[in-house]
Amino acid sequence: MPAYAYFPGCSLEASAKEFDTSFRAVFDKIGVGLKEIPDWSCCGSSQVHKVDKDVATAIAGRNLVLASDIGDIVAPCAFCSISLKEAIIKLEHEGPIRSTLIEAGLEYLPGSVSVISAVEATYRAVEEGLIDGKVQSPLTGLKVAAYYGCLLVRPPKIAQFDDPENPSSMERIMVAVGAAPVDWSHKTECCGNAYIFVNKDMTLNLVRDVLNAAIEANADAVVTACPLCQQNLAMRQPHMKQNYGLKREIPVLYFTQLMGAAMNIDGQQLGLSGNIVRLINKRQQEAKEVG
């Protein structure tokens, strides 16, 4: 069984728990191992980066070293995967930061490890046919807007995955589980990041634009692959409907939750609400009647 070194990241331990559980469940189902990196620490994140870019690279580097015995890293959170990817590029040339790591008992060997996001790992699995035969309950008729947000495919020099302006990997995954991706305009627009705590009004404006674009494209749900995106888009919808011109409420899910549903994984384990399960069933029913 192939295995990745799994880097959950801080959010997947807490607010984005269902991303963690659903991702693990799906990968278990398709037979790809996820071995959690022992004693992993913060990825370096954009916040640390803005305080000191070299410290950010060093603490990201720590995780790279810890993972190198296991294999290539999969980091679901977009911030984590981009931070770790950037550290790999930086550490190639930054001797002093490698020395800092050695002082902390961590020797980094350039080229020893690579990093991909959960979307990339899943996309590869789909391309390799690993999900064939695992989709017992295809999400027929369910229209989804695949939302990439910012750092999953950007900046292209670091992400090195998919098209930065019009990505399509998540759509490919959704097709593989029977759902119908919609074509829409705000796939890669920013959700406002952690600025919900800083400038709530600004963030809600950004979120409203993204959600309305998905609604105008007739999507039943938005699928994301980032804890911040999911939370910014999913929360406060009633408030936005009342005060920000949100056209209607729309479910926002991790793409792995929908995959799990298509693979008949228990809804509880996926963190899916009853409403979503009913919506999926309804669409499947409709499709049957039409078909």
């Binding site: 098209d163 930065p164 302006e165 019009n166 305009s185 674009a213 105008e216």
Partner: protein, 671 residues
């Protein structure tokens, strides 16, 4: 013993500012063989040259070293100088103290030391120089012009008018090039076709010009005055000598209106048998073998037929049936034509940046985002919409038209770093054309800088703004996307420092930059010349020799050198014609004597030189039973490859012999 004179040039402060010229000159006198050494402010000046001549005479110098600028600049000057003093002009060596020393060395002491070393090397080398005599070669007074756009047309007409024969080779079925695709021209707004087509006709009718369209240059051999060129004349499947240009065949082709017409930038269709546009020269159609049903169907004579089965028949063939002249000839084959020329003119033009690299502008997938060349065709009365400006998505008149400049140009990340030079002007022109045809339309032009440095250009751009109401917004557009059937544009007005979000944009015209032809490097290799790192043909000197390329007898004009507008293309074409005229005013040319020679006594007849020579200038000869290699001095370009490959040391490059090179290395190490 050699009597060498050393002359160190200050080149004003160019050399003297970094190199202690006095010290170099003083040190030189101690080099064995040097009997005279001095330094001057400008050796290339008349006074400087006189010093050299006088010193040669007074000191009975028999060879000379000049420490100055690159030999590319003044080697010829100084060859003449030493000749005037009575020496063979090859008894001279230049030490490059400017490009190789003062301009590239930071430290003064280091620079001085390096200058001394180079002078030593030059003395060592010149001590073993031998007098050389140039050979003589006749000049074939015929010119080959490659490319039938406005630059090639102008060059061909000018050369032909001087009385010389010209062969014009054009890859497309018709001459005319890019200019034929344009609607109006800036800044005068005269119709492009109206001023171009008379010249196209002139080319066709000129008694000194032979036109080979649908043809490509396949191979170039030889040297200035004597090029041997092989031209592939692609099968046209229509006999040019018989066809009357009635074009009856085109109307009957079943694929009529089925194939995107390249001339219309794919925005209007053509058939499999076609002329690209109405004013085509020659007005003889071609049959596109990629599409023609007849040519794609299996040849009955080559198909194996089982007993009892009927032989298959060729499909279609309608064009041949309707042609009253019998001009359609499906059996035509590509023809290889071998011709001799004294000069070659490159006028192969340019291409346009492919905006599919711009995902943020829809990567070419949004129907109402078009290129400026698309716009030229759309606004042209003989184009796909008969001159009506409409949205490709729905055929309606646009109310809000946006022009975006610098798409691909000035973009190190996704495009090319340079400015394409013509886009500011054609965008202003297109804005004016929009206003003329759509009086009520809103027009925006997003720009970064306006580059309008030509005669009447700045005034033209201001007219577009003031009289034609084009709203110029300074800022690069970030994104264009479709949402709910609307086109949305996100930009910024950098002058007020505010983001711009424009909804309901109907038509976006991208000013895609000018790039080199994708096969320009290949063509350059065929001809044996070089391109810059963007694929444009390199000139000998960008200021002083702007239309000559570093292979003698080859010239270039128009946009294959760099992006340029029509006036500049025409001006360089005229310049090329003048250069060709100068060349053809000679009946005989002096050939460079610095070519290879092979000592038959040392030659082991191994043939290594024959196989490495890139110019096929070496052949094996036999004399009284002994085989040896021999150089054709007229064909040798003096590259020295044979000399490097020759193990017994029989092949030597005159003026750069092994001995000379070893002596110059020795000089640096010893003295």
């Amino acid at each position: 013993m050699a009597r060498v004179g050393v002359f160190i040039c200050h080149c004003g402060a160019n050399i003297a500012g970094k190199v202690d010229v006095e010290a170099v000159s003083e040190a030189a006198i101690n080099i064995p063989g040097v009997v005279y050494s001095s330094h001057q402010k400008y050796s290339c000046s008349e006074a400087g040259q006189k010093v050299i001549i006088d010193a040669i005479k007074e000191n009975r110098l028999d060879r000379v070293v000049i420490g100055s600028c690159s030999p590319k600049m003044h080697e010829n000057t100084f060859r003449k100088t030493v000749q005037q003093a009575g020496l063979n002009s090859y008894m001279l060596e230049i030490a490059n103290l400017r490009e190789h020393v003062s301009w590239v060395t930071a430290d003064k002491d280091e620079a001085t030391k390096k200058a001394m070393d180079l002078v030593k090397a030059a003395v060592g080398k010149v001590s073993f120089a031998k007098p050389l005599t140039p050979g003589q070669v006749p000049v074939e007074k015929r010119a080959l012009v490659i490319g039938g756009g406005i630059a090639g047309i102008q060059a061909a007409l000018d050369i032909a008018d001087m009385g010389y024969e010209v062969v014009m080779v054009e890859r497309e079925p018709s001459i005319g090039g890019r200019m034929a695709q344009l609607d109006k021209t800036f800044p005068t707004l005269d119709c492009s076709a109206c001023i171009l087509s008379p010249r196209m006709v002139d080319v066709a009718q000129h008694p000194n010009i032979r036109l080979l369209t649908y043809s490509e240059v396949e191979n170039v051999n030889g040297y200035v005055g004597n090029f041997n060129v092989i031209i592939r004349k692609k099968a046209r499947f229509v006999d040019e000598r018989i066809c009357t240009g009635c074009l009856e065949c085109m109307g009957k082709c079943p694929l009529k209106k089925k194939i995107p017409n390249e001339f219309e930038n794919g925005r209007a269709p053509r058939g499999a048998i076609y002329v690209p546009f109405a004013q085509a020269v020659p007005k003889v159609p071609v049959i596109d073998k990629e599409y023609c049903r007849y040519l794609l169907s299996p040849d009955p004579d080559k198909v194996e037929v089982k007993e009892g089965e009927k032989k298959p028949k060729r499909k279609c063939g309608v064009c041949a049936k309707v042609c009253t002249q019998g001009a359609v000839d499906f059996n035509q084959q590509d023809e290889l034509i071998s011709e001799k020329f004294g000069a070659i003119v490159l006028a192969t033009g340019f291409n346009l940046f492919d905006h599919s690299k711009y995902g943020e502008y829809g990567a070419g997938k949004i129907p109402d985002v078009i290129t400026a060349l698309d716009f030229e065709r759309i606004v042209n009365s003989s184009g796909p919409t008969e001159g009506k400006i409409v949205r490709p998505s729905n055929g309606e008149k646009p109310k809000r038209v946006v022009f975006i400049q610098c798409v691909g140009s000035r973009d190190e990340a996704k495009g090319v770093p340079y400015c394409s030079r013509i886009c500011c002007m054609y965008t202003a022109k297109q804005a004016i054309l929009v206003r003329e045809k759509l009086p009520d339309a809103e027009i925006y032009v997003f720009y970064m800088d306006i580059r309008a440095a030509g005669k009447g250009y700045e005034e033209f751009v201001l007219r577009a703004q003031r009289e034609y109401g084009a709203n110029y917004v300074r800022g690069r557009v970030s994104r264009i996307y479709e949402s709910n059937g609307h086109m949305v544009l996100k930009a910024a007005d950098t002058l007020v420092g505010m983001p711009v979000e424009m909804d309901d944009v109907d038509l976006v015209v991208l000013a895609t930059g000018s790039i080199a032809r994708e096969d320009s490097v290949e063509l350059a290799n065929t001809i044996g010349i070089t391109t810059d790192n963007h694929g444009f043909i390199s000139e000998v000197h960008p200021k002083l020799r702007p239309v000559e390329v570093p292979r003698e007898g080859v010239f270039a004009c128009g946009a294959c050198l760099s992006p340029r507008d029509i006036p500049d293309a025409v001006a360089t074409a005229g310049a090329v014609a003048a250069k060709v005229g100068v060349l053809f005013s000679n009946d005989i040319l002096m050939s460079d004597p610095m070519v290879a020679e092979i000592d038959p006594l040392k030659c082991a007849a191994c043939g290594a030189c024959v196989s490495v020579c890139p110019y096929s200038a070496i052949t094996m000869e036999e004399f009284r039973g002994k085989k040896f290699a021999k150089v054709n001095e007229a064909m040798c370009q003096g590259c020295g490859t044979c000399s490097a490959a020759c193990r017994p040391g029989a092949a030597q490059l005159k003026g750069q012999t092994d001995e000379q090179i070893l002596r110059s290395i020795e000089a640096v190490l010893q003295w």
